[in-house]
């Protein structure tokens, strides 16, 4: 019999979490409740003597100062004192990761000195006590906002029902599986039509009521299935289900990046031709100055920080899972990308997390969308997605002790069907351990295969193939997982101890495809592997062997451990509370062999497994879109226009996001994500000190311009690279030591037009990486970000994300005491613009704002900002020099929203006013109108302030470059701007600017 322990805030005390929930319900649903109180329920699924249970109730679960607790049912008497009209209980569905449940189990073991066995465990759930006169329909609506039916279930009772039934409890979420599925051998000698169905829908398990039961998509094209069929025909046998699933994982778009590897038109692979070639050419040219260490071969890209230390950086996406369960998707994403630098070379310590979110409009009118025609499976409101994703990254970063240092949030209605969630992690690794370079690793024949960390369940089965397919009603919910930062923190800490004691010869992380991919990859280092699946620790019995092999259960790393070190390695992990098991050996047989209960279930040639997939041949088409340049009237009130721009969700303050991310942990934050006298203006880049006793810093930024892609993706990519480089230069990074990462989030990648856009984007990546001598060191693609579903009337609808390229960049700051923020420093300082302002507003924020106001949708226009390397390449090194020389008091890149936004941010940060004359701004032809000068997004510009005593030297050093002094910093807290015709067009107090900047997300 399971025992329930309930914990609530004492009746006399306010419940602040409940109050926050009450406010959120009022804001999001417009339902005013009198009170919300929240209770935690711990359901202990194991027999204990009464005295032990009473001790747990008293000592372990409640905070004795603020909380009261109750043991088992009946609960009504206990809950009466809390006061409520309705009660809602939310609990997990079977098999969903229950982190507090796991902690409770460990705590009970510590307190009572015993061990839980088998499936004995603790489950957690949550009760909401709602006060207020509501009918059931409204309460059901409130309840629906409190849980996600993909991972949780709920029960609702009125007070009367609750008392009549003597309490409320949900069924126990025990996992109960039918007897494990038998191993099938799969016949591939089928007609093409049947074969294609196998690829799309998965292996046929049997039939029920005349309907076929299939295991879920393999996402294998017919070409691929033919290659597999031919291979097994040569071997003279049929593949097992495990072999087929394993090959499908290894060959998935997600793992092999088949589109970037494909032959596209006459391009011999986009990756090879544009991305990798750029890096190779840059490295060759840089010669001895080359700071790349390990590029494109490992889980993260590695560059040199100094003689003794390297940096490893990786940025991933976790879009599809975040669409389904924003919290689970995002936390799994961030904790997952942590494992990339952890599994790069011999492993690194994790020093900074980064993020980037792209959501639908969280504020405007919402038109419901559904995944199914029956409208039972709604798409989550962008606001819900935003809050869930934010919370996932909060918990993932904060609980891991990694500062979440840099990020951005971007909105576009086209992200409403599928959000983009970028997550990145920077790691720090010693250049050598025991005299050997740490970026090198290699499993050796005879090394044990050790898997450590979390246990294996059905989680994420078909995860890798799933994200290679478009999202539809049949998407398996096994793709939803919840990351467990504490299990991984223990694992990561223990790994670093083992690394420094040289206890393993290779390591890699388990991501998509689970151990099938990690072991398969490591086996290439020595030429083979032999795995005994029986040895893999499981969460619950009943998993089929193929499920154990491809499960994506989180928080696991795979190690190659020399046999003589295995004891010490396993003992170390056990003493750190980390579960580990040796599950086989690396070999040099040339084959990947998997056994289960003495039977061989896989025996495949390694070369075929990795290189047997046929190369895809793709065709692209590029048609330049035509959007008319809007003919805009000048705004009547420039002050109002500037305020409206500052309040746009894309440009407004998202301080509440940054404040809930711990960006200071590890003590290395130097230029912070929020800057200014009042610490309330977003910085375009941050600087961290990875080594506490060194003056070297690392500057981090990210940039994307999906709006420019609507006009020409070439300039979308160019602008993103230019902006990223400029952001880093402005905070003091050395322009010769900047590295780039690409993240392509595309849509409908089967369509030649989309591939045409992709090709242009890649061409710009090549061109501009070379211009700036900034190598790509790592990247990732996610090619099918399309939503196919139904609108409120049940009509089919497809929403594709705009092709999106995120450029993340890191740069070395040689002396971080020379780094700089955008904050204006002192009244009397002179304000300069560097670089030309042209009439380039196409795809930018100003056209979007005007269009939304006048037509209800963004104007796109044609005048996309272009990057002119002949100008920027002269300017940036000079800017970097004068920052180093201390000639600049503050610097800011001019970016989205243009000069007007940059001026406003500088004024808000410094809490000092400015007097500006737009007539002085250096400009291109046709740009001489006040709104163009204020809001054009021309690339290549900086806004700086200079101490008047240094201005002569500054101007001398900048000779020959397009720049102008456009005004002065003033004591009076007002931004005053004089237009080209000599009239004052703007005069706004700083507090008004801040109000506009902050009001959009004020109560979030």
């Amino acid at each position: 019999m399971a025992t329930r322990i309930q914990v609530f805030t004492k009746p006399g005390l306010p419940d602040y979490l409940g109050e926050r929930a009450r406010k959120r319900i009022a804001r999001d649903l417009g339902i005013e409740l009198d009170s919300v109180r929240i209770g935690e329920i711990y359901t202990i699924d194991r027999e204990f003597p009464g005295a032990d249970l009473e001790r747990l109730r008293r000592e372990l679960f409640p905070d004795p100062v603020t909380q009261e607790s109750n043991l088992s049912e009946p609960a009504p008497v206990f809950l009466k004192s809390q006061g409520f009209d309705w009660i809602v209980e939310i609990g997990f569905l079977p098999g969903v990761t229950d982190n507090p449940g796991r902690t409770a189990r460990e705590a009970i073991e510590d307190l009572l000195g015993m061990k839980f066995r088998g499936q004995e465990t603790v489950y957690t759930s949550r009760q909401y006590l709602l006060g207020g006169r509501l009918d059931r329909a409204l309460v059901e609506q409130v309840a629906a906002g409190l849980f996600n039916p993909l991972i949780e279930r709920s029960a609702v009772r009125s007070r009367e029902e609750f008392e009549r039934e003597g309490g409320l409890s949900l069924p126990l979420p025990r996992v109960q599986l039918p007897p494990e599925a038998p191993v099938l051998s799969v016949d591939l000698n089928l007609p093409d039509e049947e074969l294609a169905r196998l690829g799309r829908q998965g292996i046929l398990e049997g039939t029920r009521d005349g309907r076929e039961i299939r295991r879920g998509p393999l996402a294998l094209d017919l070409d691929y299935l033919h290659a597999i069929r031919d291979y097994f025909n040569r071997e003279g046998r049929k593949p097992t289900d495990l072999e087929l699933e394993s090959i499908a994982q290894t060959w998935s778009e997600h793992c092999k990046h088949t589109i970037f590897a494909a032959c596209l038109d006459r391009v011999d692979g986009l990756f090879k031709t544009y991305i990798r070639r750029a890096t190779e050419e840059i490295r060759k040219k840089q010669g001895r100055k080359d700071f790349c260490v390990s590029i494109f071969t490992d889980n993260a890209g590695v560059i040199r920080l100094n003689r003794d230390w390297n940096l490893a950086y990786k940025v991933e996406t976790h879009n599809t899972p975040s669409a389904l369960d924003p919290y689970g998707g995002a936390i799994t994403g961030i904790v997952g990308v942590n494992r990339d630098p952890l599994g790069t070379g011999k492993g690194s310590r994790l020093v900074v997390n980064t993020y980037g979110f792209c959501f639908g409009d969280p504020i405007g009118k919402w038109e419901p969308l559904f995944r199914d025609r029956e409208k039972e499976n709604p798409v989550l409101h962008p606001r819900t997605v935003f809050e869930g994703v934010r919370r996932g990254v909060e918990d993932g970063g904060n609980k891991s002790g990694i500062p979440t240092g840099f990020g951005f949030v971007r909105f576009d209605p086209r992200y409403r069907g599928k959000p983009l969630v970028f997550v990145g992690t920077l790691g720090l690794m010693p250049a050598r351990i025991g005299g050997k370079p740490t970026e090198q690793k290699g499993a050796r024949p005879g090394d044990l295969i050790v898997v450590a960390g979390g246990r294996v369940g059905k989680d994420g089965i078909h995860g890798a193939t799933f994200s290679s397919e478009e999202l539809h009603a049949g998407s398996p919910v096994t793709a939803v997982q919840i990351g467990d930062p504490i299990t991984q923190k223990k694992l990561g800490d223990a790994q670093l101890e083992a690394r420094d004691r040289e206890l393993y010869s290779s390591v890699t992380d388990n991501g998509a495809g689970g151990i099938s991919c990690s072991i398969g990859e490591m086996a290439r280092e020595c030429g083979g592997c032999r795995v005994e699946l029986d040895q893999v620790p499981l969460k619950y019995p009943g998993l089929a062997p193929y499920e154990i092999w491809i499960s994506e259960s989180q928080e696991r790393m795979t190690y190659a451990v020399p046999p003589e070190k295995a004891d010490e390695f396993l003992r170390l992990l056990a003493s750190r509370g980390v579960e580990a098991a040796a599950i086989g050996k690396f070999t040099d047989s040339g084959r990947c062999v998997v056994t289960y209960r003495g039977k061989t279930l896989m025996d495949v040639d390694l070369d075929f497994l990795h290189d047997g997939l046929p190369r895809r041949k793709l065709k692209s088409k590029w048609i330049a879109p035509r959007h008319p340049e809007p003919a805009l009237k000048e705004p009547g009130d420039y002050g109002k226009a500037l305020e409206a721009m500052l309040s746009r969700p894309n440009l407004a303050s998202k301080e509440f996001v940054v404040r809930q991310f711990d960006h200071e942990v590890q003590g290395g934050s130097v230029i912070k994500p929020l800057v200014g006298v009042e610490e309330d203006v977003h910085s375009e880049a941050v600087v961290y000190r990875p080594l506490p006793d060194s003056r070297e810093g690392v500057a981090i930024t990210g940039s994307l311009f999906p709006g420019y892609g609507d006009i020409d993706p070439y300039w979308m990519a160019a602008a993103a690279i230019d902006q990223a480089v400029r952001n880093l230069v402005a905070v003091g990074a050395d322009p010769e030591r900047i590295a780039l990462l690409d993240n392509f989030c595309w849509c409908s990648s089967d369509e030649p037009e989309r591939l045409g856009q992709l090709k242009r984007t890649c061409q710009a990546c090549y061109d501009f990486a070379l211009h700036y001598q900034a190598p790509f060191i790592s990247g990732k693609d996610s090619m099918y970000n399309d939503f196919k579903g139904f609108d409120a009337r049940g009509g089919p609808i497809k929403i594709s994300v705009p092709p999106t390229l995120l450029i993340s960049a890191i740069g070395i700051v040689s002396d971080l005491r020379r780094s700089l923020t955008l904050t204006a420093k002192s009244a009397g300082d002179l304000v300069y613009v560097l670089g030309l302002t042209r009439k380039e507003m196409g795809g930018g924020q100003y056209y979007a704002a005007r269009g939304e106001k006048e037509k209800g949708r963004a104007y796109v226009g044609a005048s996309v900002p272009r990057v002119r390397p002949e100008e920027t390449l002269k300017l940036y090194p000079r800017v970097a020099d004068i920052i180093k020389e201390g000639l600049v008091a503050s610097a800011a890149p001019v970016g989205e929203g243009g000069l007007g936004i940059s001026l406003a941010r500088k004024v808000m940060a410094g809490c000092l006013g400015m007097g500006i004359d737009l007539a002085l701004v250096p400009k291109g032809p046709g740009a001489g109108r006040d709104d163009y000068l204020l809001f054009s997004e021309s690339a290549g510009r900086f806004l700086v302030t200079v101490d008047p005593r240094k201005s002569e030297k500054f101007e001398k050093r900048m000779k020959g470059l397009p720049l102008a002094r456009i005004g002065t910093v003033i004591m009076e807290p007002v931004l005053k701007i004089q237009g080209v015709e000599g009239k004052e067009i703007i005069s706004i107090k700083i507090e008004k600017l801040k109000e506009a900047y902050k009001k959009t997300f004020k109560d979030w």
């Binding site: 926050r20 905070d63 750190r576 003590g667 005491r817 700089l820 904050t823």
Partner: protein, 268 residues
Amino acid sequence: MSAKPKALILTGYGINCDWETEFAFNQAGAQAERVHINDLIAGQRKLSDYQILAVPGGFSYGDDLGSGKVLANKIRAGLRDEILGFVSGDRLVIGICNGFQVLVKSGLLPRPTPELNQTVTLTFNLSGKYEDRWVWLSARSDKCVFTTGIERIYLPIAHGEGRFFAQEKEIAGLKKNDQIAFQYVDSRGKPARGNFPENPNGSVLDIAGICDPTGRIFGMMPHPERFLNFTSHPNWEREKELLSRQGKKLPEEGDGFRIFQNAVQYFR
């Protein structure tokens, strides 16, 4: 000069400020060492070999069951005699953020009793949200070893459960015994009086840190180990620019360093 005092920096199970806390103590002149709690429980390391115990910040057990609670439970179950022996001698204990929560929930603060019972608490911020921001603190206790010579300092907080709360009787006892070590104040040093954001979490009496009646056991929510070098200050480069115009140099040390120096100084 006597030998360097030895500082044990506790680690394991989601403690995550152990590296920077170790660095802080070493910089201040201690001989600091990160030790996994399981090595203490297994007896491989002995608490009695050290003069200073630091329980760093972090997210032990992910704050499940309440912040600091499960690590406190582990200490009470596995290290009760060792820890009681340690604090009965002339030694120092500091708990920062999650470490403060652990000290409170394991009953070491406000005063250790043989049963290690919890009598005060750190609970959810009034906002219901996690907060990362810099705050001003005023040192209030004459007996707290760690705050000697400190008046007002600026440090970052980063927590979701930092609201100090206790029954009135307990609070009166803390006041009477001079155990309130730090209170949140505004930038001019005036009491925050519970106002956000000066008091970032709604702590009763603006309490940010307390010590035991001997002044040797100390806990605080803000993070002194995150402000050792002046370049960690949110506006350091503004200060630098303004100072340089007066012909002055930027200070080297941050406000938090003094707390670690005080601990080391105690054994000199």
